[in-house]
């Protein structure tokens, strides 16, 4: 029998106004095991915590029940207090009489009655609590960053800066991500390449950073502090160590008609290619889908011209296994496919383009060397219509319900830059709302309207109709003047919604990290732990967590790095002691628990047992890796004999709570 102390918190008037706290303390005095029961103004205050500590000593308490706010709020506080007074922190139970009682009930009588029952349930549970000791596990002092865009680059640089080793896995042949395709950045209009490429070079040159380009994560095992990751290095048919990036092969390759993804397919590249001049690593890659040598063994031109003998047609995918203490997800985004938005004629006319394509059309390294020309006929567009929210804030089911956040600003940028460079151009922007909540953002937008004369029209474009003269008839409504508009445009630019990269979903499964319905990774707490996944040891950087612009991405990347550094700085981690435990004497060895365990925490072994009939038998029994188990309890229900139980939430504890509540 435990000696239990009960502490009922007033929480000022938060609880005391609707719950008769004295009556609760009084009623719980009579419960079996309770040797002390009292109430206090603020249990979480220092004085309140001291009350607990002193009572533990004075009454020799072995268990503590605090009737207060949600355990999500102060469970840790009270556990620490109990621990400092010499009892096991897991001998503390919280009865939530604020969020789940005083705040939702108006009637004092029923709220008090409920508070007493919740208190009794906590007392009944703590009766069966056992002291739990958290295990420790070592930390591998190396981090993995998945994704080599600006988010991943910044995170890696910051981690490396702190002195820890960090690997970047990037599925493209080069790091840099989407930012490499952007011409200028809002609201300062500095050149994206000028601020990004030095960071890419830093990564390549930092001896703490290892870049796995053209690679993907194939498998993740383990747990915080101790992940084992298999990285698949895709065959690029070029020896990375030998290739000097001279680029001769990319000029000599006879296959010239490969759509160039860097320029959004608006020009071509060769079958062997370096994505762009500042690529890191600056190493050529053979596109196996187009290479004649790989397809039918006839060619070998690049190999002939390569002076260092870097071409290796026989190269295979290889798997590298590495151990990491922390993993940062920085998988970024893609604009959505616009196939479902036929009204904008994206698939019918070359002159209906996405904003990212527009970005390439204005970039000096782009297909037009930076001169804004219509993709269809290479002529100067004189009327450009920008359409906002294509697939964003869309409840029709075709697009995304969320706001993609960056489109308002980059469209203002596009409009402004167009007007600056080509003052003879008419620029229209159709919008639902213009959202500019950022430093210098609204000023930037106002400049576009006021100084550059961009026509901002509140309303949606209903239809874009390609006409025989090559122009585009844009039908729209102006919601402010309530007019139907028909604009004869030369170019239509669609601000497509952005969505998480498709690879994120399967990655989330490997990482056992949770995602929301839009496939954005879920943060551990939306406000207080925004860069951590609920899965320990997994951190989030950049758009994989939600739409954000470059400054936000970089700040989140640094924040994630700070969290990783905090983790890697520790030598050992304390595990969650509320984990599953198998009673070997009752275990059937049936493997049901193993099948439902999401962490692979359960293993089986044959052990020798002294049986009840005093014979010796070898039996197959389950055991739980306490460092891997996260304590969900799926196994406990899969186990028919009840051999598998969960510490801290045992069958008997939960049933004791049920009994107390139903009394």
């Amino acid at each position: 029998m435990q000696k239990i102390g009960v502490f009922v918190c007033h929480c000022g008037t938060n609880i005391a106004a609707t719950v008769d706290v004295k009556a609760v303390a009084e009623a719980l005095k009579g419960e079996p095991g309770v040797v002390f029961s009292t109430d206090y103004q603020y249990m979480c205050s220092e004085a309140g915590q001291n009350l607990i500590k002193n009572s533990i000593k004075e009454y020799g308490l072995t268990g503590v029940v605090v009737c207060s706010c949600s355990p999500r709020m102060h469970e840790q506080t009270f556990r620490k207090a109990a621990q400092s007074a010499g009892i096991n922190p897991y001998m503390v139970e919280i009865a939530n009489i604020r969020e789940q009682c005083s705040w939702i009930h108006k009637d004092i009588w029923s709220a008090t009655e409920k508070a007493i029952i919740l208190g009794k349930a906590a007392v009944a549970k703590v009766q069966l609590n056992a002291p739990l000791t958290a295990g420790e596990s070592p930390v591998v002092k190396r981090a993995l960053v998945i994704g080599g865009g600006i988010a991943g680059i910044q995170t890696a640089l910051d981690i490396a800066e702190a002195g820890f080793e960090v690997d970047i896995v990037e599925k493209q042949p080069t790091i840099g991500g989407k930012m490499t395709q952007i011409d200028k950045t809002f609201p300062t209009l500095d050149c994206a390449a000028c601020i990004l490429t030095p960071k890419m070079v830093d990564c390549a040159q930092n001896e703490k950073i290892k870049i796995y380009s053209y690679s993907e994560v194939a498998d993740v095992k383990g747990f915080v502090g101790n992940f084992t990751v298999k990285i698949k290095k895709k065959a690029r048919y070029v020896d990375e160590d030998k290739c000097t990036g001279c680029g001769i092969c990319t000029e000599k390759c006879p296959v010239k008609n490969v759509p160039n993804e860097f320029n959004m397919g608006m020009d071509n590249r060769r079958a062997i290619y370096i994505p762009f001049a500042q690529a890191v690593p600056k190493v050529a890659t053979i596109d196996a889908n187009y290479c004649n040598m790989l397809k039918n063994g006839k060619c070998g031109v690049c190999s002939k011209f390569c002076t260092v003998g870097a071409i290796d047609y026989k190269q295979q995918d290889t798997i590298v296994e590495e151990k990491y203490g922390a993993i940062v997800v920085a998988t970024g985004f893609n604009p959505i496919k616009l196939d479902d938005f036929d009204e904008f004629a994206y698939s019918q006319s070359k002159d209906v383009i996405t904003s990212l394509e527009f970005e390439r059309l204005t970039n000096a390294a782009g297909p037009t060397s930076g001169t804004l020309l219509r993709p269809s006929d290479g002529k100067h567009p004189h009327t450009i219509v920008f359409v906002q929210c294509v697939g964003s804030r869309d409840t029709s089911g075709c697009g995304k319900t969320y706001c993609s956040k960056i489109c308002c600003m980059y469209t203002a940028k596009h409009a402004m830059l167009t007007r600056e460079k080509y003052p003879d151009t008419d620029v229209y922007v159709f919008y639902i709302d213009v959202r500019t909540p950022g430093k210098n953002f609204d000023e930037f937008y106002r400049r576009a309207v006021e100084e550059y004369g961009v026509h901002y029209i509140k309303g949606m474009v209903g239809k874009v109709v390609p006409r025989s003269d090559g122009t585009l008839m844009v039908q729209a409504s102006d919601l402010l003047s309530n007019e139907q508009l028909h604009i004869n445009a030369d170019l239509v630019v669609l601000a497509a919604a952005i969505e998480p990269d498709k690879s994120a979903r399967s990655l989330a499964t490997m990482l056992t990290a949770s995602m929301d319905t839009n496939d954005f990774f879920t943060e551990a707490h939306p406000k207080l732990r925004p860069v951590e996944s609920p899965t320990a040891g997994i951190f989030l950087s950049g758009v994989c967590q939600g739409p954000k612009d470059i400054p936000e991405t970089v700040s989140q990347a640094s924040a994630a790095a700070a969290k990783v550094i905090g983790l890697l700085a520790k030598d050992k981690l304390t595990c969650n002691p509320c984990v599953a435990q198998a009673n070997e004497l009752m275990c059937n060895g049936c493997s049901s628990c193993e099948k439902v365990c999401p962490y692979g925490a359960i293993t089986y072994s044959d052990k020798e047992f002294r049986m009840p009939d005093r014979t010796t038998a070898i039996r197959r029994v389950a055991s739980v890796n306490e460092a891997v188990c996260q304590g969900c309890g799926a196994c406990t229900v899969a186990c028919p004999s009840g051999a598998m139980d969960l510490k801290g939430f045992s069958n008997s504890q939960i049933m004791a709570e049920v009994d107390a509540i139903c009394k």
Binding site: L585, M586, G589, K595, V596, R620, A643
Partner: protein
């Protein structure tokens, strides 16, 4: 068939391939056959039996027998092999210590079914595969075998052996067009009040003798929750109607997705409670909600409760589906 089986058993014993044989032993009245272990040719000659009255499923005995020194030969009927295979899947039987001979079965004659026709004082009962001859204290009679078979054999789900080392006789097929869910459907079609009445009437007869549990090949726990004082479900007597419900619901739930529908539970119930109708409800629900699944059929397939799809139906389907209101 019986002489062939004895011949093979003797051969395997003589060659030292197996150390013992698990089969059926003759009783006093032809119908009271006991599962038995034979270790010598003499025992086999004097008591080994296989005929249309050998109802018992021998698979569960192999949990213990397979842990003995040397191999054990067991004769399994088609439906017994499903239980055996399920036990293998759950690592309960050491396969390398068992020699399985599959034996054919075209339905077993059930003494309770014969008694239900009104015959009493049955001293002898024999079947030639077509006709059953019954000798009683009060005269002799015959009936067709079909009339003497229990429901589980009439609605046989498979005459195919899913696991064996050797087969005697001809191999059969899965019986796709059985009517084993008819009674479940009938109960589902009742109103909730009728269903409650029906099951109360059945389960209130339970005397908690545990015969259903102890005979069940899926109920092979080292320690059953109902025998474990720490489990919170412990109870010994059917002290309250709640306990009767609790025991049978939880037992059915624990074997859900694992029960092969061998029907032993209903066969052995001294109170004639149709316990298989609980298991079949789960089987039917699983088939309808998660796709056809036959426990024991496939060694690699995951049990339906140990897997999921992201598109699974919501529990609220019970409100729409369920039975009649």
């Amino acid at each position: 068939m019986q002489s062939e089986m004895i011949k093979r058993a003797k051969e395997l014993l003589a060659s030292g391939e197996v150390a013992r044989v698990v089969g059926w032993k003759a009783g006093e009245f032809d119908y009271d056959i006991t599962p038995g272990v034979f270790t010598t040719a003499e025992e086999l000659d004097s008591a080994f039996l296989y005929n249309d009255l050998c109802e018992a499923n021998l698979s569960k005995y192999m949990i213990a027998q397979s842990r003995k020194e040397g191999k054990t030969l067991v004769f399994l009927k088609p439906c017994d092999t499903y239980s055996f295979s399920q036990l293998l899947k759950e690592h309960r039987i050491l396969r390398e210590n068992v020699y399985v001979i599959g034996v054919p079965c075209d339905g077993k004659v059930d003494v309770d079914t014969v008694k239900a026709t009104g015959l009493t004082g049955i001293c002898s009962m024999t079947s030639d595969g077509e006709t059953v001859t019954v000798k009683t204290l009060y005269g002799d009679s015959t009936m067709s075998k079909a009339d003497a078979m229990s429901e589980r054999c009439i609605n046989c789900k498979s005459k195919k052996h899913v696991v064996y080392d050797e087969l005697l006789g001809e191999e059969g097929d899965v019986v796709a067009d059985n009517h084993r869910f008819d009674m479940v459907e009938k109960i589902e079609a009742m109103t909730p009040d009728e269903r409650f009445e029906f099951w109360r009437n059945e389960l209130s007869r339970c005397i908690r003798c545990n015969a259903c549990r102890n005979v069940c090949p899926a109920c092979s726990c080292e320690k059953c929750v109902f025998d474990n004082e720490q489990s919170g479900a412990f109870n010994k007597g059917a002290s309250d109607s709640f306990e009767e419900n609790m025991f049978h619901i939880i037992r059915a739930f624990h074997v859900a997705g694992r029960c092969t529908d061998c029907g032993e539970c209903s066969r052995v119930c001294p109170q004639n409670i149709p316990l298989h109708l609980l298991n079949r409800k789960f089987i039917k629900d699983i088939n309808e909600l998660y796709g056809e699944y036959q426990a024991g059929e496939n060694a690699d397939e995951r049990a339906p409760l140990n897997t999921f799809t992201t598109e699974d139906v919501e529990p609220s389907i019970v409100y729409e589906r369920g039975g009649k209101q």
